[in-house]
């Protein structure tokens, strides 16, 4: 095209959208590639339900892989854990309470949405099965 022509970008964008739609229908876009991109660029998310992570533990199993001095290291870690538990434990309790409260609200909402969807589906069935006058 000539570089002195004015550009009708709306038409150009519509043409691009049309071409993409045609190629999409023709199966030209690799689903495998798109899934791989989504996986590569996705923010890491857990597959577990949120309840699995709602209760925060303030202590974990202690271990050391160092031969010889391992027992002493574990003893040291346990001492530090006990010394800081007055500070850490209330924080984890607060976080657990918040997590459980928000989950309770979310699950209640989920039930209401499901009930509404079921009602809507029933009404739709009735409407379509009603004989036309």
């Amino acid at each position: 095209m000539s570089d002195t022509e004015s550009i009708d970008v709306r038409t150009l964008v519509a043409d691009i959208e049309g071409t993409v739609e045609q190629r999409r229908r023709a199966g030209e876009y690799s689903a495998e590639l798109l899934q791989r991109l989504s996986a590569d660029f996705a923010v890491a998310a857990s597959a577990d339900p949120p309840e699995a992570h709602a209760v925060i533990r303030s202590s974990r199993a202690l271990y050391s892989a160092r031969p010889g001095v391992g027992r002493a290291i574990v003893f040291g870690k346990r001492t530090i854990r006990r010394l800081t538990s007055w500070y850490i434990h209330p924080i984890t309790e607060d976080q657990t309470n918040f997590n459980l409260a928000i989950l309770r609200e979310l699950r209640a909402l989920e039930k209401r949405v499901k009930a509404l969807e079921a009602d809507t589906a029933t009404n739709d069935t009735r409407a379509t099965s009603r004989p036309r006058e």
Partner: protein
């Protein structure tokens, strides 16, 4: 005309869109003969709000600058506590929103000074919308207060106290039509004008120097600005990877030349296509923009987009996201950019520009003509004068 601008930070070294805009307006209006003063704080950082600069009066050219100390923040920890909630897109209850606002550089002495300033100026112009001095200051003398909000579609724009302030002032001055439409959706129709941001002509960029600066043999697209999630830089990287890995029809892949700071750790596949140039000076930036097939900005959080205008000053077409009201509006108005919904459309648009160089040249020229016509400083200052006269009358 006698004007006072109120902005949280001010100075030649301050980085920030609204701050840059206020300084440009203030210095150019003063050069044009208006009596301009700026009321600002001693802070230079939006994160610490520490009083880094001395309290008092100074001159920035012919602009009188009055600096006031930021009050001790009532609860600095609340920013750390509430910011992640805001960033997740959750709405804060009013009391928490106000707590967050109270920690954004509030200066009681600056607010008190407004009572004196209002007696000697025709209008007080606040920017941006989301800081405490705007939210509280613009309600003190609303009939003489105007706000340049630099509005984005974000959580702060839905805070009740923010919306009350925006609704209560004499008028709003927007940077783009898309921003005005967003404002109407959020707070309804208010007295307002669209003014925009001005640009000086740039020396003709050197395409060859731009290519050698990027240091790749093939085609490249470019981006300049913060490389972070809110600006959707990761999405751009993903789309370039997808284009290279199989969605393109062109024979060769492209590189993504990225200028600016990075707050994002790129996955290995993205790192392989990004040529990170870090901070570059203005001539280098324009050389790289001019040598690009297209300049890409997929961000939706734009009240204007300096990058799009700078691309057009370099006579390069842009690719923006179809959901981004402001940048898409610029493209529709200029005929110098394409808007895309997804990675497939992005790839197709890029293929069109690479396959038809004359199309890119014509779009680049249209963009250059658009910026020169609509956003020369003469045109912008003319609109700004008219807006202030009409809204603060």
């Amino acid at each position: 005309m006698k004007l006072a601008f109120v902005t949280p930070r001010y100075g030649p070294d301050i980085v920030g869109g609204a701050e840059r805009l206020v300084r440009d307006f203030a210095t150019r209006l003063a050069d044009a003969g208006d009596a301009v003063e700026v009321l600002t704080t001693c802070a230079t950082s939006l994160f610490t709000w520490a009083n880094d600069l001395p309290v008092g009066e100074s001159l920035d050219g012919t602009v009188r600058v009055l600096r006031f100390a930021v009050d001790p923040r009532p609860s600095p920890e609340s920013m750390a506590r509430l910011q992640p909630v805001i960033d997740m897109g959750l709405e804060l209850p009013d009391e928490l929103a106000d707590e967050w606002l109270a920690n954004t550089g509030l200066s009681s002495s600056l607010l008190d000074a407004l009572d004196d300033v209002v007696t000697r100026v025709d209008a007080i112009v606040f920017a941006p919308y989301w800081v405490a001095n705007t939210v509280r200051g613009a309600t003190r003398h609303p009939d003489k207060s105007l706000i340049i909000p630099c509005l984005h579609d974000e959580a702060y724009a839905r805070f009740a106290s923010v919306q009350t302030t925006l609704r209560g002032v004499a008028g709003l001055i927007f940077n783009a039509e898309g921003e005005a439409r967003l404002s109407e959706r959020l707070i309804g129709t208010r007295p307002s004008r669209v003014v925009g941001v001005g640009f000086d002509a740039v020396a003709a960029p050197d395409v060859r120097r731009g290519r050698s600066g990027v240091g790749v043999d093939g085609d490249f697209v470019s981006y300049a600005g913060r490389q972070e999630e809110p600006k959707r830089f990761p999405l751009l990287a993903e789309w370039v990877v997808g284009y290279n890995d199989g969605l393109r029809r062109a024979a060769t892949p492209v590189t993504l030349a990225a200028m600016g700071t990075s707050a994002w750790t790129a996955p290995p596949r993205a790192a392989a296509v990004i040529r990170s140039l870090g901070f570059v000076n203005e001539p280098t930036k324009f050389d790289v923009l001019a040598a690009s097939v297209a300049v890409c900005n997929l961000s939706r959080n734009e009240s204007f987009s300096y990058l799009v205008m700078e691309a057009w000053l370099a006579a390069t077409p842009v690719i923006v996201h179809a959901d981004a009201d402001v940048t898409r509006g610029h493209c529709e108005a200029s005929g110098a950019g394409l808007w895309v919904n997804d990675i497939m459309e992005f790839s197709e648009a890029l293929d069109r520009l690479r396959g038809d160089p004359a199309l890119g040249v014509a779009m680049g020229r249209a963009g250059h003509a658009f910026v020169t016509r609509e956003y020369s400083w003469a045109a912008v200052l003319d609109r700004l004068h008219s807006a202030i006269a009409a809204l603060a009358a």
